[in-house]
């Protein structure tokens, strides 16, 4: 029987190695959780906890929010203002965004070096803080000293100074303009990504077959970019339903309640009247509406992807 010490040490070292390897693997496995932990904790504290707390709070007053006696969402005014704002803002952003993305996509137009080099410039509005935009537009909308009235009267487009934020016919539109100015570049950017993803060979083939630019855009680019367009619409619709910044900085919901969107109503209930449960209930309802709209759009998106 060999009684060599050396093999004993070898066996011992091997066993130690195995133990160390096991410990190392275990540590690695648990180390990933250790690095993930801060992110998970923050997510739970900032997202999950408030959601659960709001749900709990809303249960105390959900009946008040859906009483159906005109107290649903506070007043029908909010629903109308929100619908008008949604259709105008998202609609305009879509149309303008489409136009800008076509301009920026030098595959579809003849190469324009100015346009190509100014892509970054178009993103500036989206990068600015919404409060800054709101305050800037507030100055521009000033009825007597604002640049908007000045240029429009100089160009004889209007005959008198308009109170953009105070007249019922213009107040909501003024909000829409500020919102469109900020978010159109985002829509344009998303659509541009979709247009540039279309293989160039298809356009070349169409061109060789005698198709015009418009025919190529309509029958090749649009169908292939449908998913991207839907995603852009989905994101902007959900965002528009939650619009608060421009309302707060520009009109505070006035004149009267003509520009009071639902998010501003929730803020009023919570922070001015301290009706936290009512605000929570209404915000849950708003979340349900947003989820509903998002579900419809996602369903359409899925069908497009399957096709």
């Amino acid at each position: 029987m060999e009684t060599s010490v050396y093999p004993f040490f070898q066996r011992r070292n091997t066993e130690e190695l195995k133990i160390r390897e096991r410990i190392s693997r275990s540590c690695e496995k648990h180390l990933q959780y250790f690095f993930l932990a801060p992110a998970i904790v923050i997510f739970v504290l900032l997202a999950i906890y408030p959601l659960v707390y709001s749900l709990n709070l809303s249960l105390y007053n959900i009946s008040l929010a859906v009483s159906g006696t005109g107290e649903f969402l506070g007043s029908y005014n909010y629903a109308f203002a929100l619908t008008d704002f949604l259709c105008l803002a998202v609609g305009l952003e879509f149309i303008l965004g489409l136009g800008i993305s076509i301009l920026l996509s030098n595959k579809l137009m003849k190469r324009r070096w100015v346009v190509v080099r100014s892509r970054g410039f178009f993103l500036l509005p989206t990068m600015m803080a919404p409060v800054v935009i709101g305050l800037t537009f507030r100055l521009m909308y000033h009825p007597e000293f604002g640049v908007l009235n000045y240029f429009l009267t100089q160009l004889r487009i209007i005959s008198r100074n308009i109170v953009w934020l105070g007249e019922p016919d213009f107040a909501l539109f003024s909000l829409v303009v500020a919102d469109v100015w900020q978010w159109t570049p985002f829509i344009a950017l998303v659509m541009l990504a979709g247009f540039l993803a279309v293989p160039e060979e298809l356009h070349e083939a169409a061109e060789m077959d005698g198709a015009s630019w418009f025919q190529s855009f309509l029958h090749i680019t649009c169908p292939l970019s449908k998913r991207v367009i839907l995603i852009a619409l989905l994101i902007r619709t959900m965002d528009a339903l939650k619009t608060f910044d421009v309302v707060y900085t520009l009109t505070r919901g006035g004149p009267g309640r003509m520009t009071e969107l639902l998010s501003f109503f929730i803020y009023r209930q919570g922070f001015r009247y301290a009706s936290y449960s009512y605000a929570a209930a209404t915000s849950i309802l708003l979340a349900i509406v947003i989820i509903g709209i998002a579900t419809v759009l996602v369903t359409v998106l899925r069908r497009t992807m399957r096709a």
Binding site: V163, G254, R272, Y273, Y276
Partner: protein
């Protein structure tokens, strides 16, 4: 080596901990939310005096704009977090804040605070809620007429007091196109008609002047809180406002105190209903074009009063120190406060003719301010916990009526119905 490092680390920790403990034992920090305005800055400038008397009580001022001040305090009080020790209470927020504030009657007795010098009933309107005294008055304000005496004399208009009808006639006369270019260069009159809380202040002054009231409980002092502002007086108030719109600046519907101040300073407005403590801005040579030309008079018939009060957060752990500070700010040296541009709520300041002469122009009305505070009426925030919501409903209705979206009667009726429902929800009695 390792031992050395260990010694250094332990020593550093002990050093830091001892510093913290010593600080914690010795110093108390009171957090005071405060409106960011000229007269509050004059209060802050007096901090060295406080520090000399109370070296262990540090004051942290949280300067905030008007709306944010209310919201942050409301959240802090209703959540019971106790971030703020002293509460900077605006008079119409009395009923909303009172449930979360300390009854200071024992402190008043203990420190023998002189509350007799506060003008009554104005002081009660901002500090007494259901028999509970919750604050001391730091400032007394009333809406008064700021008018250009030189323009009034030039146009041959009589001096105040004028009736509201005479105010309208004066506004028409004083709306002028100075350079004949077809555009008005100076408007006759303005009053706050923007939201939160300008429209409410103006509407209540007019409503009461025309013989109306907000709810029945004001007239009969009973438990009937039926809204009655949609009466003939309320309609007349809105109709009066509509009739004077042609003589108001463009953008009148968004006008607040700041806009009115700037227009007066820039000679774009002949007269306006404005808070008395803004008067020094008219004499500010760095920004005003009309220095020495502005005169002041009580509003026709009834005015709206308002002002600031200091109370104690019931969640503060430093009630004694907080009360000492509030008392020092309000009762201590009101004359110094007045000289710094403040408008203290005080008989002794305004009824001393020699001292009144020393006050900044615009605050040297003396007995006129006392009269305005005695006879003026507050916004109903002293009795309704849901006043913020009531104010928003009334303001929205008034604006919609002014802009022609609804008739005055229709808008006020709808608002009255909504407010009746609101008051019932909050437990106020409204007989069927």
């Amino acid at each position: 080596m390792k031992t050395h490092i260990l010694v250094i680390v332990v020593f550093t920790l002990v050093f830091i901990l001892s510093g913290l403990l010593v600080n914690a034992a010795e110093k108390i920090t009171l957090t005071i939310p405060c409106l960011d305005t000229v007269w509050t800055h004059s209060l802050i400038d007096r901090m060295p005096e406080w520090k000399a008397k109370h070296p262990n009580v540090k004051i942290y001022w949280d300067l905030l704009p008007f709306e944010t001040l209310f919201e942050k305090q409301m959240v802090d009080l209703s959540m019971g977090t106790g971030n703020y020790d002293v509460i900077f209470e605006d008079q119409p927020n009395l009923a909303q804040f009172a449930p979360y504030m300390v009854d200071i009657t024992p402190f008043i007795e203990k420190y023998n605070t002189d509350i007799e010098d506060f003008v009554q009933p104005y002081y009660d309107y901002g500090s007494l809620y259901k028999g509970k005294r919750i604050s001391l008055s730091i400032q007394g304000n009333a809406l008064i007429m700021f008018y250009r005496k030189d323009l009034f004399d030039e146009a041959g208009i009589g001096t105040f007091p004028l009736s509201w009808e005479q105010v309208k006639e004066a506004a028409e006369k004083l709306t002028v196109d100075l350079d004949s270019d077809g555009e008005v260069d100076r408007y006759g009159y303005a009053m706050g008609l923007g939201l939160k809380p300008h429209m409410a202040c103006s509407f209540f002054a007019l409503l009461r002047s025309f013989g109306g009231e907000i709810t029945r409980s004001y007239w009969f002092h009973g438990d009937d809180h039926t809204p009655i502002f949609n009466s003939r007086a309320g309609v007349r108030a809105i109709e009066w406002l509509k009739s004077i719109v042609p003589f108001m600046p463009i953008g009148y519907i968004t006008y607040g105190w700041e806009e009115i101040t700037v227009d007066l300073q820039q000679d774009r407005l002949a007269f306006a209903l404005q808070w008395n403590d803004i008067a020094p801005a008219m004499e500010d040579v760095t920004s005003s074009k009309i220095v020495g030309k502005m005169a002041y008079a009580p509003a026709p018939r009834f005015t709206t009063t308002g002002g600031w009060f200091l109370g104690l957060n019931s969640a503060t752990p430093h009630k004694e120190q907080a009360y000492e500070f509030a008392e020092w700010m309000t009762v201590g040296d009101k004359r110094k406060f007045a000289l710094g541009g403040g408008s203290p709520n005080s008989y002794s300041v305004y009824l001393d003719p020699e001292f009144v002469k020393e006050l900044p122009v615009g605050l040297n009305f003396g007995p006129a301010i006392v009269k305005a505070l005695e006879t003026g009426r507050p916004r109903p925030g002293d009795r309704y916990t849901c006043y913020s919501e009531m104010q928003d409903i009334i303001e929205a209705a008034c604006q919609e009526a002014l802009l022609g979206k609804k008739t005055p009667k229709g808008a006020l009726d709808e608002a009255a119905t909504e407010i009746a429902r609101l008051l019932k929800r909050f437990g106020y009695t409204i007989p069927d």
